[in-house]
């Protein structure tokens, strides 16, 4: 095998091998046994990334096909004017479901799913740090997604468009349950996506091969890190939006009803603050894939690694300054529009940097025209065209002409199919040999590419014209003589060409894909990164030291040495599943993470979570609540075995490096996850504050409305004091638990219990103060906004209550002490967050109306 020229970050010092040969008898067998997947019916309780990742990708692809079939039905309807193939009501459901399923059930899950499979392999970790969380995310998505999709068969599918604008989706104009299916149905998908994002952030930062410092991290890991951070920042906006709209529909809290102080534009802001970054959330992982595939195909390191990382990070930031470009036609001041116009054009710069880096890499190597290469070239062509029309619609005056026309339909499909679907197909062809015994057929692959590439252009290129000559999107038919007939017929023919390409892919996949149990197809592309090491359920036999970005190119014996167990942790130190946690910057070994194995808990928790949301949609409140309680119970059952403590003394992983098998505080992986979760919750709350201030802005001289009394000035201080004292008690309990206080830690559970009473009392006191003024949440948006903030706080206090009681239970069960205290630390972090949120909420709700004096 010829090694390509060495990458620029290669460290000339060949690392010494940490473990000698021969390996002790039984070491490899113990490792294999620890990672064995369950058999029989219990197979579905497997949590290994190699299984969950494949199921996840498979399910996402299933939704791609299902949503694709919906689009074919629409194209048949539009093939000829005045067609009565489907009626307008079904057509509304078809386009809503096509968009919703493609965005929420295919695109985001597909890229998340691919990373569940690929990231641990690429970073030579044995698994992601929270495999049960991945399993939970997958099952919630699988069960909930399928049930959600089935609504189309009963005429119950949402029909308000994938961005669900009120007032059309409010209860006045959409009284049936269709809209609720969207609002609640998408709820658990968001939870699932956020669970995955937390997993990815901690996985990228903490579980990499030794020596895989930030500057040697695969670009794909960088892309997934930025992707996950964007989900954490962007998804809370849509979570809050769906929550507010559902509250409006269920309880008549008028957040979006203009006659009662609400504003439909608030929804648009919340939706697009998520919705525009969403495009990049889908696109960045795809670029990460491209940055891995191009160097392998050109057999040369990626040109401009630093610039590509810069582009990923910059896109992550800038994409949050674009959301109003979806609202150019809403009548906002031109200056405001221009800010978004400027940011929308600026974001083309980092995208351009990446495109040039790939072209330069192709030019500096010898690109083989394999199927993945073809899909990459197709991606560059189609995405660049979509990008160009993107710069056009970023100009407000042009957007006013093209808005809601087929021009926009053409633009967004060029961007999304070019930017995500083509890279995904390239990725299928490229990485199938890692997961399967055989690669896919190159000959068939060329046909798949040809049909899809020609099909996409035949479908969508004419749509630019269809739109410019006036055809609006989302019309179920059109009269003869508008000049749209031939263009629509061509688009329909193109759509069926794409379908033929996808069908051919499925046939080839069914013929060639066989899950690799012991031996995969091998490094068929002579790629340089770690996912091409020999792998199995436990991923790699030992965890390598890497000295460059393309270790397989630069360390010729790496595969064999890894497989022989000559690198770190060649067996199992604790007898169970484990992976090596490394430091976030330098990737030096820190501790051994005891990874949980298979179990019914995440699966059941996921099923009950999905049932909770879905039953709520059909107003089966009691059954839904029961499922909610069962979901929480399953999560507690699942958590009970976590936080195992130091089950043995620090272990030698090779090369004289001894690391502990347990860590607490800021080094601990779950501490990181908790911090990320707090960013999520903080963003939900920030969006709620934004909503409150936005509603103030649109209600001159009515904040609060005339005749509304404010609670007395003392009550917020009482609530605030209770919050603060509860936090002080928890901080004191922490000291006590650590043994820094002279008193025995036996009082810890008592302190938690007292603090729980205080924090509960604080929230109750504030609710009572508002209630006593006679303020109603359903009369005016002011009341709705106030009770929105109070309700969110009550939810957090209730969660704190569950966490506090759980911590006390662990103490009583002897599972919490001065060393084994991760559970306590996590509870404490959440507690401080809840108190902080409570104090900010009090200041806003009580202080702001007084500050502005009703203006």
């Amino acid at each position: 095998m010829n090694a390509p020229e060495r990458s620029e970050a290669f460290d000339e010092r060949e690392p010494a091998l940490p473990n000698p040969l021969p390996r002790p008898a039984g070491e490899f067998e113990a490792l294999k046994k620890a990672w064995e997947a369950p058999r029989g019916l219990s197979f579905i309780t497997a949590v290994n990334n190699t299984y969950v990742g494949l199921w996840y990708v498979g399910t996402a692809f299933l939704f791609f096909i299902l949503a694709g079939i919906l689009s074919l039905i629409m194209r048949v309807q539009l093939a000829a004017p005045e067609s009565d193939f489907v009626g307008h009501d079904l057509y509304n459901q078809l386009f809503t479901m096509h968009g919703t399923v493609m965005m929420f059930l295919f695109a985001v899950p597909a890229v998340e799913a691919a990373s569940v499979y690929l990231l641990p392999n690429m970073q030579a970790a044995r698994d992601l740090p929270f495999p049960r969380l991945s399993a939970y995310a997958f099952w919630a998505y699988f069960v909930g997604g399928l049930v959600f999709f089935c609504t189309i068969f009963f005429g119950l599918a949402p029909n308000g468009g994938w961005f669900m604008y009120p007032p059309l989706t409010g209860s006045k104009y959409s009284p049936a349950d269709n809209a609720d299916w969207w609002l609640l149905g998408i709820g658990f998908i968001e939870i699932s996506a956020i669970a995955g994002a937390i997993e990815i952030i901690v996985g990228v930062m903490k579980t990499r091969a030794v020596g895989m410092s930030l500057d040697r991290m695969p670009v794909y890991s960088w892309a997934m890190l930025v992707f996950a951070v964007m989900i954490v920042i962007g998804f809370p906006a849509i979570i809050l939006g769906t929550l507010l709209l559902e509250m409006e529909r269920a309880f008549d809290w008028p957040f979006f009803i203009a006659e009662r102080g609400g504003d439909p534009l608030l929804w648009q802001h919340l939706f697009w603050f998520f919705g525009h970054p969403e495009v990049y959330i889908i696109f960045l992982p795809a670029t990460g894939m491209v940055s891995m595939i191009v160097p392998a195909m050109a057999q040369t390191p990626l040109v401009g690694y630093r610039l590509v990382v810069l582009a990923l990070v910059a896109t992550g930031f800038l994409s949050f300054g674009l959301w109003v470009h979806h609202m150019f036609a809403t009548g906002l001041p031109k200056m405001s529009l221009s800010f978004f116009s400027a940011a929308s054009t600026a974001v083309a710069v980092p995208s351009g940097i990446q495109v040039f880096a790939w072209i330069a890499t192709i030019a500096s190597g010898r690109m083989k025209l394999t199927t993945p290469s073809l899909f990459i070239i197709g991606f560059l062509f189609i995405f660049t065209l979509g990008g160009l029309t993107g710069v056009m619609v970023a100009m407000a005056p042009f957007d006013w002409q093209a808005h809601d026309s087929y021009f926009v339909v053409a633009h967004l499909h060029y961007v999304l199919i070019g930017g995500m679907v083509f890279p995904l197909f390239a990725a299928f062809y490229y990485w199938v040999p890692v997961a399967s015994q055989y690669a896919l057929s190159e000959r068939v692959g060329r046909w798949v590419f040809g049909l899809m590439f020609v099909g996409v252009n035949v479908t969508f290129l004419p749509m630019h014209v269809t739109g410019l000559i006036g055809m609006p999107r989302r019309v179920y038919t059109y009269p003869v003589g508008m000049g749209w007939d031939a263009l629509n017929l061509v688009s329909t023919i193109g759509a069926f060409m794409i379908a033929a390409g996808v069908a051919l892919f499925i046939v080839d996949f069914a013929r060639r894909f066989r899950i690799a149990r012991d031996e995969n197809a091998g490094n068929v592309w002579n790629a340089g990164t770690l996912e091409w090491l020999p792998n199995a359920n436990y991923n790699t036999r030992s965890i390598p030291v890497v000295a460059s970005r393309d270790p397989l190119w630069d360390q010729p014996n790496l595969s064999k040495d890894v497989q022989d167990g000559r690198y770190y942790l060649p067996g199992t130190a604790t007898g169970g599943r484990e992976t090596l946690v490394t430091s976030p910057f330098d990737a030096q070994p820190q501790y051994i993470l005891q990874v949980p194995g298979p179990g019914w808990q995440p699966l059941l928790a996921a099923v009950f979570t999905a049932a909770f949301f879905l039953l709520l949609t059909v107003k089966m409140v009691l059954l839904s609540a029961t499922c909610g309680v069962l979901a929480v119970a399953c999560v507690i059952w699942w958590l009970w075995d976590t936080d195992p403590g130091p089950v043995r003394p620090p272990a030698d992983i090779g090369g004289g490096i001894v690391v502990p098998v347990y860590a607490t505080g800021s080094m601990n992986h779950s501490w990181w996850a908790m911090i990320v979760l707090m960013v999520v919750t903080g963003m939900v709350f920030t969006c709620l504050i934004f909503s409150y201030l936005f509603l103030w802005l649109v209600n001159p001289a009515a904040w609060p409305p005339q005749g509304t009394a404010l609670p007395d000035g003392i009550s917020p201080f009482v609530s605030g004091a209770l919050y603060i004292v509860s936090a002080v008690l928890i901080a004191y309990a922490s000291r006590m638990l650590r043994g820094e206080d002279r008193r025995s830690p036996r009082s810890v559970p008592v302190l938690i219990a007292v603090a729980l009473l205080l924090v509960g009392g604080a929230a109750a006191a504030d609710l009572r103060a508002q209630w006593q003024t006679g303020l109603s949440p359903s009369v005016h948006a002011y009341g709705a906004a106030v009770y929105g903030i109070v309700s969110l706080q009550i939810f957090f206090v209730l969660t704190t209550l569950i966490m506090g009681l759980y911590t006390i239970a662990r103490w009583l069960a002897g599972r919490l002490d001065s060393v084994r205290r991760t559970t306590f630390d996590n509870m404490m972090l959440f507690w401080f967050y809840t108190v902080g949120q409570g104090l900010v909420g009090l200041a806003l709700v009580h202080g702001f109306p007084r500050l502005t004096g009703g203006v």
Binding site: D215, L307, L318, L697, V855
Partner: protein, 118 residues
């Protein structure tokens, strides 16, 4: 993550953070002043909207320029023997700050073209 590392990451991202703050302030202030019809007020003879955009843009440019200089300084001090991630972060810091300068300037340009609340 140690305090030193947190500082490095913040310096690396300072330019883009400055853009995010600039963007949030100019959008929020423009919307509020125009929405409440407070935009007629002037600051040293300049309309309040334009003044806020101008001052915020200058401040953000300042932060990005400082982070560029500081990243360069750190990079110059590191030398060849420094750990690779440190060199990488300081180089990324220079690139990010440089791009941010362009983006921040671009972001403020509408204020030089358009009236406040048209």
């Amino acid at each position: 993550m140690s305090g030193r590392r947190t500082g490095q990451v913040l310096l690396m991202l300072a330019g883009l953070i400055a853009w995010a703050v600039q963007f949030t302030i100019i959008y929020a202030v423009t919307s509020t002043l125009c929405g409440r019809e407070w935009a007629d007020a002037t600051i040293i003879g300049v309309g309040s909207v334009h003044a806020v955009v101008l001052l915020t843009t200058i401040a953000a440019l300042g932060v990005a320029a400082l982070s560029l200089l500081q990243s360069r300084r750190v990079h110059g001090r590191l030398g060849e023997t420094a750990a690779a991630p440190d060199r990488f972060i300081s180089q990324a810091g220079m690139l990010i700050s440089g791009l941010s300068l362009v983006v921040i300037l671009w972001q403020g340009i509408p204020a030089f073209i358009l009236p406040a609340c048209a």
